[in-house]
């Protein structure tokens, strides 16, 4: 049996067609082409197979204005992947043997796979923080024997200047929302100590009996009857519960 193995290697954009030609001449099978949207640009992965070896040639971070040469003159079957990458990633591919000119997929949005969703952004941010925290922890562990531990010092949060600088970097609408939320938080914080000092305020009473009756009088007769019945049932239940408690 032929063993399966896989390899990845990086190639330059200028080598794409030459590598394909070499592989075609050497009897490699074309397997596929795929794209990955990264922060630095779109990566392309060309896969070929020979005798169980699956080789993936990776072209890193295509510039926005890059033009990729088609390999359909060597491997006609690549027209599906090349049209797909053009439609889903807006990558310009030159001389595709069967070129649909952007109409291969019926899409409601141009280059949908390049749209970075809020979930993806959050995941990337989280990954960065995890990596930074891990690095900081490792650095601290290295320095720990030399440094004197200061257990009394609480962890300091961001300063007022840092917060204001962060807000300045946000879009105006979001910045206004953040400021409003901060003001509301500050107001709440100012009220809480007073509440701590004073005895607990009585729970605000509900509507008085007169107010309830006035409201019911304003309802249509059928609904008013239903509300009255519900109130009576509630009162009876409360009375029963009290009786049991005694």
């Amino acid at each position: 049996m032929t063993e399966f193995s896989q390899e990845f290697r990086e190639i330059a954009l200028g080598e794409v067609h030459d590598v394909a030609a070499e592989r075609h001449a050497a009897g490699w099978r074309y397997v596929q082409i795929l794209a990955v949207n990264t922060e630095a640009g779109v990566d392309l992965v060309y896969s070929y197979m020979l005798d169980g070896l699956l080789e993936n040639d990776v072209v890193r971070a295509l510039p926005a204005d890059a033009v990729v040469p088609s390999i359909t003159d060597l491997f006609l079957e690549a027209f599906v992947c090349e049209n797909e990458i053009h439609d889903l990633y807006d990558v310009a591919i030159q001389d595709i043997a069967i070129d649909f000119g952007g109409m291969f997929y019926q899409l409601s949005q141009k280059a949908p796979m390049t749209v970075v969703s809020p979930e993806q952004l959050a995941a990337r941010e989280k990954a960065r923080k995890v990596v930074a925290a891990k690095a900081a922890k490792e650095a601290a562990a290295k320095q720990a024997p030399e440094a004197v531990p200061d257990t009394a010092a609480p962890a300091a949060g961001p300063t007022e200047e840092e917060i204001q600088a962060k807000i300045a970097g946000l879009p105006p609408e979001k910045a206004a929302k953040v400021r409003a939320a901060m003001e509301a938080k500050a107001k709440k914080a100012a009220v809480v100590p007073a509440a701590d000092e004073a005895p607990a305020a009585p729970k605000p009473a509900g509507l008085s009996e007169e107010e309830i009756q006035a409201k019911i009088a304003g309802l249509d007769p059928e609904k008013a009857a239903k509300v009255r019945a519900a109130l009576e049932a509630k009162a009876a239940k409360a009375a029963k519960t009290e009786g049991k408690g005694e």
Partner: protein
């Protein structure tokens, strides 16, 4: 020769259960050129890796297609396991292959029924689907599901098959084999079937190789390429595995290869059932794929080689998941097989290629 006329075929057509469009350039009654088009229902499932973690995405992967569901879940799980350096227990490998080969049997029986129906052999359609029901019953007994099984997970499988169930599977497959052999012999020797398929939709070995064809379509043109021969997982423990091929390269050869592959799958399941090792069925998989780590994988689906690719970003969500299905690989070969055929044979050729647009429009 008469004037060339373009005849649109699909995306809605009685012979196509899924939307595929062909522009057939016809002179008199002969097809001289073909332009295929897909993309009418592209679902963007690959983008869902952004919102589903690598454990959750397996449920998306197996919903790519109802016929190839088990294969997609196995292919996806193997790729993520390769990405994270996870080795699964031997028993889990065996169980995956048994369910996957049962899926191949049900897929080929479904296809054979549809093909028989297309050329007017309706009683054959009924018989094929009757046998397929027995395979679906086995799925239901062992997994609880009939189409979407949800038994494969990253790190192994979620259910075991005990010795009693295994004996029942073997017994049911023996019964299916007897019935199926009669049906297959009837089909392959029937004059009407031969009239419609022999010499129709020819594809040479050279073309199949040049166009990197996959699956029964390629093997019917005498290209012995089958991912199972790499011996991955439990396939490596088979005493002997030889891809089934035919030399004719026509519609009849494609029918014959698929018919024989059903018997081959039954034998694979029986052999693995006899060799089933004891032990765990899963290992715990913790953590997340490393940032920038990437892995690729191939799996023999009922329609041929399917390619999987995954890239990690340091979180539980993958940066990219890619699935290249066998049908998209065979589209170029389909245009070559259609060139020169009679217009009346187009539907028969497409059916014997067995395109799965649901997979392709992942």
């Amino acid at each position: 020769m008469g004037k060339a006329t373009v005849i649109p075929f699909g995306p809605q057509h009685p012979v196509l259960p899924e939307p595929l469009h062909l522009d057939l350039v016809v002179q008199d009654e002969t097809v001289v050129d073909v332009l295929p088009q897909i993309g009418f229902v592209h679902r963007g499932l690959e983008k869902l890796v952004e919102t589903r973690d690598y454990n959750q995405f397996i449920y998306i992967a197996e919903r790519i297609c109802g016929i190839c569901a088990t294969g997609h879940s196995v292919g996806y799980a193997e790729t993520v396991e390769s990405l994270m350096g996870v080795e699964i227990p031997k028993r889990a490998e065996y169980l995956r292959v048994i369910w996957h080969e049962l899926s191949r049997v049900h897929s080929h029986l479904l296809w054979l029924g549809l093909a028989a129906d297309a050329f007017g052999f309706e009683s054959m359609f009924m018989h094929c689907w009757r046998l397929r029901e027995r395979v679906l019953d086995l799925f239901e007994k062992t997994t609880g599901g009939r189409v979407i099984l949800s038994v494969v997970k990253v790190g192994g499988v979620v259910r075991d098959i005990d010795a009693t169930q295994m004996a029942e599977i073997v017994s049911v497959l023996d019964g299916i084999k007897d019935d199926y052999t009669k049906i297959m012999n009837t089909l392959l020797t029937d004059t009407s079937v031969k009239n419609r398929t022999v010499g129709v939709g020819y594809l040479s070995t050279e073309d199949a190789q040049a166009l990197s064809m996959v699956g029964p379509f390629a093997r019917a043109s005498n290209l012995p390429y089958d991912v199972r021969s790499f011996g991955k997982g439990a396939y490596g423990d088979l005493a002997d595995f030889q891809p089934i091929t035919a030399t004719e390269g026509d519609c009849y050869a494609r029918v014959k290869v698929r018919c024989l592959e059903v018997l081959q799958s039954i034998e694979i399941i029986k052999e693995l059932a006899a060799k089933m090792p004891a032990g765990d069925i899963e290992v715990a998989v913790k953590g997340a794929p490393a940032d920038g780590a990437q892995a690729s994988n191939v799996l023999e689906q009922p329609r041929g080689e399917c390619y999987y690719y995954a890239r990690g970003n340091g979180t539980k969500n993958l940066e990219r998941m890619r699935i290249r299905t066998p049908t998209s690989q065979n589209l170029a070969g389909m245009t070559v097989a259609l060139k020169g055929c009679d217009l009346a044979d187009v539907n028969m050729i497409i059916l014997t290629i067995d395109p799965c647009i649901s997979c392709t429009e992942r």
